[in-house]
C-alpha cells in the first residue's frame, strides 16, 4: 500500500523538517519513502511544502496527484491542496490559523489548535511536531514511538539535543489531542 | 689562423632544461630570451624534473615544446585557474604559467586576479608587449595611448578604448601575493635583473611562500613595425614611462 502526505504552511513553520522526520520514521519502520520539498526563494518567508510518499513497494513518482494525507498549517495551504486529496483521505488542520472547515465531505478532517498545543508543550515553535503527532494518529502510517525516535536522532545529529524533550512532548500533545 | 676547436673553453651553452626545439618566435622578439632565462632558472634550482609548465594561447602557444618538463597547453586566459588545479592536486610540483598580456590581463582577468587573491603557490610569467602578436597586431589591454594597432588604426583613443591597464599594480592591491615585480630586457642590466627576479619567484614557490608574478616588458618588432634595436629603445624610453620597472610587492 502507498500513502502520501503534503505538509504545507508558511516558511518558518517547520513543514520541511516535519516531512523529513516522517520520511525518516517511515524508513526506520521498513517502508520505502521519498521526500520532496518545494525549494527556492519561496522558502525564505513565503509558503513552503513538502511531499512524503511511504510505501511497502519501491516508490515510483515522488510527485502525487491525489495525496492520501494533508497537513494544513495555515489557510492558504488548505485552500490550495484540499481539492487534491484522495477520497477517504486524511486532512489535519491547524484551527489556530485556519478559520474554516474542509469543503470536502469524502475526507476525514481533524481540527486542532496547533499553536495552543505547542505553547502548552512548552515551546510555540513546536507546532510542526504537534501537527505531525496529530497526523500520525489520524493516518496510522507510522507508530508514534518510531517517529519520536527518528526525531530525537535527527535533532541529536544536528546538535540540538536540548530540544528533544520539548519536541517529544509536542508530538505527544498532537497525537493525544487528535 | 685556424680555430683550435679542441682547446676552446665553453663559456655559454643552452640550459639543460631546454629541449633545443626551434623557437617559433619572430626575429628580435623577447620571448626567446625569457624562455632561456626560465630554462636557466630551472637548471640552477634543479627543479626541472618536478616542474609542470603551462602554455597559453597567443604567440607562446608552443611554450610546451621548449622545456624538458611536463607541460599543459591550456585555454586562452585560463592558465592561472588551470595552475591552481595542478598545484592543488600536486603541491609537491613546481607550477608556472607563461601568459601574454591579452591572456593574463584581458580574457583571463577573473582567473588571474583570483588565483593571486587565493595566494596560490605558483609562479606566473606575464609577458607584456602591449599588442596581440599572434592574431595580427590588435589592441591589447596594455596598448599605449595613441599606439596604432590593427584594431586601433588611428591610435588608441582612451575615450573609446580606455587606458593601458597596469595589471600588476591591480594585483598588488591584494593581501595574498608574495612577490610581484615588473622587469624589462632592453639592456644587459635589465636582463640580469629579470633573471634575478625570475629566480626569486621560483625560489619563493619552492619555499612555499606563495604567489609570485614577474611581469616582463617585452618587444614585438613585427607588429610594432620597428627594428629590434628600435624596439628596445621604445621600451626603455616610452613603455617604462607607463609601466615603471621594479618590485611592487616582496613579502618574502
Amino acid at each position: 500500500m502507498e500513502r502520501s502526505v503534503i505538509i504545507a504552511g508558511f516558511g518558518g513553520q517547520g513543514v520541511i523538517l516535519a516531512g523529513k522526520i516522517l520520511a525518516q520514521a517511515g524508513m526506520d519502520d521498513g517502508l520505502e519513502v521519498t521526500w520532496l520539498p518545494s525549494y527556492g526563494p519561496e522558502m525564505r518567508g513565503g509558503t513552503a511544502n513538502c511531499t512524503v510518499v511511504l510505501s511497502d513497494e519501491p516508490v515510483g513518482s515522488p510527485i502525487v496527484d491525489q495525496p492520501t494525507g494533508l497537513i494544513a498549517m495555515n489557510r492558504p495551504s488548505l485552500d490550495k491542496f484540499e481539492a487534491m486529496l484522495a477520497t477517504d483521505g486524511v486532512v489535519v488542520v491547524n484551527s489556530s490559523l485556519v478559520d474554516r472547515t474542509a469543503d470536502r465531505d469524502d475526507v476525514r478532517a481533524t481540527y486542532l489548535p496547533f499553536n495552543d498545543l505547542a505553547a502548552s508543550a512548552g515551546n510555540p515553535r513546536t507546532i510542526n511536531m504537534v501537527a505531525l503527532g496529530a497526523y500520525l494518529k489520524a493516518s496510522g502510517v507510522v507508530p508514534l514511538e518510531t517517529a519520536k525516535r527518528a526525531m530525537s536522532r535527527m535533532l541529536e545529529e544536528s546538535g540540538k539535543s536540548k530540544l528533544i524533550d520539548v519536541n517529544c512532548k509536542a508530538i505527544e500533545e498532537g497525537y493525544n489531542a487528535a | 689562423m685556424p680555430t683550435d676547436i679542441a682547446n676552446m673553453v665553453k663559456v655559454f651553452e643552452r640550459p639543460a632544461s631546454l629541449t633545443g626545439a626551434r623557437f617559433t618566435y619572430c626575429p628580435g622578439c623577447s620571448h626567446g630570451v625569457i624562455t632561456r632565462i626560465i630554462g636557466q632558472t630551472l637548471d640552477e634550482l634543479g627543479i626541472a624534473e618536478r616542474t609542470i609548465g603551462l602554455a597559453p594561447v597567443g604567440c607562446s602557444v608552443f611554450a610546451y615544446l621548449w622545456y624538458k618538463c611536463d607541460a599543459l597547453q591550456v585555454a586562452h586566459g585560463r592558465a592561472s585557474a588551470v595552475a591552481t588545479g595542478v598545484k592543488r592536486a600536486r603541491p609537491e610540483s613546481i607550477v608556472f604559467s607563461y601568459q601574454g598580456d591579452g591572456d593574463f590581463a584581458s580574457i583571463g582577468t577573473a582567473e588571474s586576479i583570483h588565483a593571486a587573491n587565493r595566494g596560490e603557490n605558483i609562479t606566473v610569467i606575464f609577458v607584456n608587449n602591449q599588442i596581440y602578436g599572434m592574431t595580427g597586431g590588435e589592441l591589447a589591454p596594455t596598448t599605449l595611448v595613441d599606439q596604432k594597432t590593427s584594431t586601433t588604426p588611428d591610435g588608441r583613443d582612451p575615450t573609446l578604448f580606455g587606458y593601458p591597464i597596469r595589471f600588476s599594480e591591480v594585483i598588488a592591491q591584494l593581501d595574498a601575493p608574495a612577490y610581484i615585480t615588473r622587469q624589462a630586457l632592453y639592456d644587459t642590466k635589465r636582463i640580469n635583473d629579470t633573471t634575478a627576479a625570475i629566480k626569486k619567484a621560483f625560489e619563493y614557490q619552492v619555499e612555499g611562500k606563495g604567489y609570485s608574478l614577474v611581469e616582463i616588458l617585452s618587444t614585438c618588432p613585427t607588429n610594432w613595425r620597428m627594428t629590434p634595436l628600435q624596439s628596445n629603445e621604445h621600451v626603455e624610453n616610452v613603455v617604462t614611462e607607463v609601466f615603471p620597472l621594479g618590485d611592487l610587492i616582496d613579502r618574502g
Binding site: 520532496l36 | 609542470i52 592543488r88
Partner: protein, 351 residues
C-alpha cells in the same frame, strides 16, 4: 554496502564522488545543486582533499582541467547556466583526452530560466555543448540511489576511456530525499596507474597534455583517435532499463526523473487494462538506439515523455525509424508532469 540513510540526491552524488576517490573538487554556487557544493566543502578538507570555491564556472572547469592533467580523480558540479559557462573547458578536456566528472543538476531555461526541475539540457549534454567534434559519456540517474551508483560509474568510465563524463540529473532528483545504501570507498591504490599524466618528468620524457596541433593532417589524426574511442564506447557501454515491456502495446520512453514517475503511470495504466511498458536509457550518450529499435518492432507506440520540448524525442525517432508510432508529451519551464497527466496522454494512444 553500509547502513540505509535518508539523503538528498545532491548529497548522495557528493558522497559517492568522495567514495569514488575524487581528490579535487572545484565549483561555483548555483541553485539547485548548492547542497552538493556544501557537502564537499564540509568533507573534502577533513579528508585532506581539495575543495576550492572557484571565482566562476569557467575557473572551476579550468581547475578541473589542471587537476585531471595530473592524474587525480576530479569533479565539478553546477546547474544549467553554469554548465553553459563550462563548455569551453569541457571541449578542452575532451580534446586533451582527460578524465573528469561533471554534474549538471538541470533547471528550467533558456537564459536565467528558473530553479525548477527540467531536462532541457539534453541536447547540450548529448550532442556536444562546446566546440569541436567530441562526445561525453552522459549518465541519466532516475533515483537517488542510482545517482550514487552512476557517480561511481562515471569516475570509472572517465578513467577507462580518458573522457569527460556527465551526470545529467535535474532539480527534483537533486533536492529529493530517498533511502540509500552508500557504496564502500574505492581503494585508491587499486586504481590503474596513469602513465600519461603530468606529474614531473623525472626519469622519463616529458608528458604533454594538449588539444592542439596547427597541422591539419595531425589534428585530423587526433580526431580519428577520438572517433575510434567513441566507437569503442558505443560498442561497450550502452546501458538501459526495460520494464513491463514483454506484453506491452505502448511503451513510454523517458529518462531520469520522468522515468521514475512513469513507473507509477505503468501501474495505473495496467490497473485499467492498458498494456503499458517503460524504456529508460541510462546512458544518454551512447544512446541505446538498437535496444529501442528492437522494442519498437514489438509495440504499436513509443510515447516519449520529457521535461523539454522534445530533445530526447529526436533520438527516439532515430531509433524507432518508423517501426512504431512516436507521439510526444513534454513540459517546459520547470513544470513536472504528474502521473495523472502522463496517464491521460497514454490513454489517448491506447486502443
Amino acid at each position: 554496502m553500509g547502513e540505509r540513510l535518508l539523503l538528498r540526491g545532491n548529497e548522495v552524488i557528493a558522497e559517492a564522488a568522495i567514495r569514488a576517490g575524487c581528490e579535487c573538487y572545484f565549483a561555483y554556487p548555483i541553485t539547485p545543486q548548492a547542497e552538493l557544493l556544501e557537502h564537499m566543502a564540509r568533507h573534502m578538507p577533513r579528508l585532506g582533499r581539495t575543495f576550492v570555491q572557484a571565482e566562476s564556472e569557467i575557473g572551476a572547469i579550468s581547475m578541473v582541467y589542471g587537476a585531471a592533467s595530473t592524474g587525480v580523480r576530479t569533479m565539478t558540479s553546477s546547474s544549467s547556466p553554469g554548465i553553459s559557462l563550462k563548455q569551453e573547458g569541457i571541449s578542452y578536456l575532451a580534446g586533451s583526452n582527460l578524465p573528469a566528472v561533471i554534474v549538471n543538476v538541470v533547471r528550467g531555461g533558456p537564459g536565467l530560466g528558473n530553479i525548477a526541475p527540467s531536462q532541457c539540457d539534453y541536447f547540450q549534454a548529448t550532442k556536444g555543448g562546446g566546440h569541436g567534434d567530441y562526445r561525453m559519456i552522459v549518465l541519466g540517474p532516475s533515483t537517488v540511489p542510482e545517482a550514487g551508483e552512476l557517480t561511481i560509474l562515471a569516475f570509472d568510465l572517465a578513467d577507462k576511456y580518458r573522457i569527460p563524463v556527465m551526470i545529467l540529473a535535474d532539480g527534483l532528483l537533486g533536492q529529493m530525499m530517498e533511502p540509500v545504501e552508500l557504496p564502500e570507498p574505492v581503494d585508491l591504490e587499486s586504481l590503474p596507474a596513469k602513465d600519461w599524466a603530468a606529474t614531473g618528468a623525472e626519469g622519463r620524457d616529458p608528458n604533454i597534455i594538449l588539444s592542439f596541433d596547427l597541422g591539419p593532417e595531425n589534428l585530423k589524426q587526433m580526431n580519428l583517435v577520438l572517433q575510434e574511442k567513441y566507437r569503442e564506447i558505443v560498442n561497450n557501454e550502452v546501458r538501459y532499463e526495460e520494464s513491463d515491456s514483454q506484453d506491452a502495446d505502448i511503451v513510454i520512453a523517458a529518462h531520469g526523473t520522468i522515468a521514475r514517475i512513469a513507473k507509477s503511470v505503468v501501474r495505473m495504466a495496467r490497473a485499467e487494462g492498458i498494456k503499458l511498458g517503460l524504456f529508460r536509457p541510462i546512458t544518454l550518450w551512447p544512446y541505446p538506439y538498437e535496444p529501442l529499435r528492437a522494442l519498437a518492432d514489438r509495440v504499436d507506440t513509443v510515447l516519449t515523455v520529457e521535461m523539454s520540448a522534445g530533445q530526447m524525442w529526436e533520438d527516439v525517432r532515430l531509433a524507432v525509424a518508423e517501426r512504431a508510432k512516436t507521439p510526444f508529451y513534454g513540459e517546459m519551464g520547470g513544470v513536472v508532469p504528474t502521473p495523472l497527466t502522463i496517464l491521460n496522454e497514454v490513454r489517448k494512444h491506447a486502443n
